[in-house]
Symmetry: C2
């Protein structure tokens, strides 16, 4: 029997499949950033980065909050956690070190609000 598909994973993995987007995530790991600052190190247009950020936001991997005229981008590790849960637990195996991974995320990223 085919396992029930988890539609959220499609977007998360598709978002992770692009090296530009993974680089953006790495940058956001260090700090929240404005769209323009995210775009600065890349050799592509601001509009392209804006699209990448929209894809990341749609997948849940980041959130975006507009304060004034600048839109701040913030890493959202929950989506990454879901993908990792699938990786470790897809199939019938117990997610043995899931608790440890969650603790890792808590420690690194702070408690989820």
């Amino acid at each position: 029997m085919i396992p029930a598909p988890e539609p959220g994973l499609d977007a998360v993995f598709a978002a992770l499949a692009d090296p530009t987007r993974r680089a953006i995530l790495s940058m956001l790991l260090e700090d929240d950033m404005a769209v323009t600052d995210v775009a600065e190190p890349f050799e592509m247009s601001l509009a392209a980065i804006s699209k990448h950020l929209a894809i990341l936001a749609a997948s849940g991997l980041i959130s975006q909050e507009k304060r004034g005229r600048v839109k701040w981008c913030k890493l959202e590790p929950d989506a990454l956690k879901r993908a990792s849960v699938w990786m470790q637990g897809f199939g019938q195996f117990e997610p043995v070190n899931l608790d440890a991974f969650e603790a890792f995320l808590e420690r690194e990223f702070g408690p989820d609000p």
Copy 2:
């Protein structure tokens, strides 16, 4: 500075982004299977499944070995492990429970040949 891109991850995450391919991986978790048997529960052509399997093989998530006229598909957890390593360690953080995860894979899938 933008982190060096890891090209293998593109293919792995792209492969994981499709629900059909994830379902195939789940099926292969239980047992090695022939292409026709993989295709059986899906409502699409054999050629489509053959393509999906080729994509999974190109990403390294599975391997295919032709014995006689049937081609056997086998899960290759190494690629999944690489992706999981990136997830837990992307950025500068130490992969705290990577060892535990590798041990988990060893236990569940057996030692790598």
